[in-house]
Symmetry: D3
Subunit: 123 residues, 6 copies
C-alpha cells in the first residue's frame, strides 16, 4: 500500500506455492471421486463457446458473491493471465458487489489490492 | 415438457407481469436509499468495458450460485435478449454448477427448462 | 395488487394456519434437543435490554439477508404486532438490501406486498 | 396433515416424476462437463468405507443447512429407502438445525411432514 | 485474554488503519457504480425513522448471520460509538446465534473478545 | 508439509487452547439464552439412535458446506477421537465437496492437512 507496509501475510508467489503444496497433499490422499472433481473443475474453464477470459470472469464473480478469498485470488490471477483489463476486472467485481451486497466489500478491497499487486509485479 | 404438462406455476410472460406489479408497489413504498439501490442495479448491467451480454452472464452465474430462481430467470431472459447462444448459456451454468455444487442442480434443471421456453416462444 | 389478482398462494391467515399445523406435527415427532431449540428460539425474542420490537427487527433483517420467505413473513407479522411503523419497517429492509445485495430484491418485493396485506387487514 | 388438507403442491410420486422429466431435459441439453458432474454426483453416494445410509444422512444434513427443499426431499427419500429409522432421521435433522439455526426450521417442518408421507405410503 | 496473549493479529486501531488504506485504494480504482454503492452504504445507516444505534445493531446481526468478521467488527465499533450497552450487544448477538446456528459461534467468540477490547480501550 | 514449513498459524494444540480461552470469555459474558445454546450444541452430538462418530461426521459435512474452518477443524478433531478412519473421513469430505462445489476446495485442502497433522501427532 501507499506506505509500503504489506496488507497480506503472503505475497502472490508465496500464496501460489502454498496452494500448490496443499493441492498435492490433497490429491495424494483423495479418493477417485475427489480426483474426478478436481479434473472436472479444470475442464470447466477451458475455452469453448465462451472464451477462457469470460469463463474466468464468471468464476471470479461466483467466488466473490460466495465470499471466498482464496477462490477470488485464484480467478484474479487467471483473469490477469487471460488479458483482462483493469476496467473489465472492476466491472466484473461491480456486478459481484451489487448482487452480493456490502458483505462483499471486505473481499472487494482485498481483490483490488491483489489486482494492483499483479499489475506491479508485471506477472 | 415432453408430455405437455407445465412445470412452472407461471409462464414467463405472467411471471414478468407479476414481477412488474410487485416492483411498482415496492418502489412506491420505498425510501430514497432503496430507490437508489434499484437505480444502481440497472446501471451496473449497462455495457461498458464489458458488453451487456457478458454482464448478464455474470449476473446469471452470481444468481445461480446464490440459488435464487427469480434472479436466475431474470438474467436468463436478459441473456436471451442479448443474443447468448444455447452453448454459451450452458457453459455459464456449468461454471455455476461446478463452483456451487450439486445444491445448484434443482435451479439448473429449472433454468434449462426456462431456456427452452424462451427458445420456443421465439422471444 | 392493483388489479385485484392475488400474488401469494396463501393469504396470511391461511399461511399462519398451515405453519401452526406443521409446527405441531414437528414438535410431536421431535426429540428433546429439537424441542429445546424451539423453546430457546421463543425466549430469544422476549423483551430484555432490547425491547421486543427491536428484537423482531433484528430477526427480520437476519431472515432477509439469509433469504427465507417464511422467516421474513413471520417476523413481518411480529414487527407489525409490536407497532413498527411503515417507515421503520422499510428502513430495516433497506439495511437488509444493502448488506445482502440485489439477490434480496425478490424477497423485498414480497415482504413489501405482505406488509401492505397486514396494513389492509387491520391486523 | 391432521385435517386431511395437503401441505404440498405435489405428493412425493408426482414430485419424483417431475424431477425425472426435468433431469432428462437437462441431460439432453447439457455439455460434457455437466453430464460428468451428474455422474460424479451419483458415484459419491455409493457405499464405500461409509455405507450408503450414512452417506445419504450426510447428503441430507448438507442439503438442510444449505436450505434446499428439493435436495432435502431427495435425500429424505433415499434415507428412507436405505432403512433409516425415524429416530435416526430426527437426530440428523437435529444436527442440521443446531448447526444451521432457526433459519432451517421451515425446511425442518416440511422435511418432517415428508417423512410422515413416506411412512404412510409404505414406500 | 486472561493470560495476556493477543487473540487477533491486529488490534482495533491497526485494523481500522488498514481498512482505511484499503478503502482509499479501492475507491481510487473503482468505477462510478462502485463509488455510488459505497455512498449508498453510508446513507443507509443514518438516523431516520430508526435511530443510528438500532440501524447499527441491524447491520451487526446481518453481518453475524452472514459470518463476515470484518463487517462484524466494523458494526461492533459503530454500536459501541452509538452507546450500545453490553447487555444490548449480547442480546443482538444472541438473535444472530439463534437465527444463524452454531456456525456463527466462532464469530460470536471473536465479537465478544472485540467488544471487551473496545470497553478496555475506553474508545 | 513436504518441506517442513508450517501451513497454519497455530498448530492444533495452540488452536484448541485459544478456542478454549475465547469460549470461557464468551460464556462469562453471555446471557442465559446463549449459555443454553452452547449446552444444546453439546447435547446434540451425544450418541443416541446415531452413534457419536456418525454425528460428528454430520457436523463435519455441515461445517464444510457452510465453509467455516474453525468448525471443520473442531469436527475433524472429534471425528479422529471417535475412531473415524482416513477413508471414512475422505468420503465424508467428498460428499461435502460434491454438494458444496469447488468453493469448498480451499477448506478441503486445509482439512486434509489438519487430518494429517492429527495422524502424525498420534492424538
Amino acid at each position: 500500500m501507499a506506505d509500503g507496509t504489506p496488507v497480506f501475510d503472503l505475497d502472490i508467489e508465496s500464496w501460489q506455492a502454498q496452494r500448490e503444496k496443499l493441492n498435492e497433499h490433497t490429491l495424494q490422499n483423495a479418493n477417485l471421486e475427489i480426483k474426478r472433481f478436481f479434473s472436472l473443475d479444470s475442464q470447466t474453464y477451458r475455452a469453448g463457446a465462451l472464451d477462457a477470459k469470460t469463463k474466468e470472469l464468471l468464476g471470479l464473480v461466483a467466488s466473490a458473491v460466495l465470499r471466498c478469498d482464496d477462490c477470488i485470488l485464484y480467478h484474479t490471477i487467471r483473469c490477469h493471465e487471460e488479458g483482462t483489463s483493469a476496467a473489465e476486472y472492476t466491472e466484473a467485481m461491480n456486478v459481484a458487489l451489487v448482487v452480493g451486497g456490502s458483505i462483499v466489500i471486505p473481499h472487494l478491497r482485498r481483490a483490488m489490492a491483489r489486482w494492483k499487486e499483479l499489475e506491479e509485479s508485471g506477472k
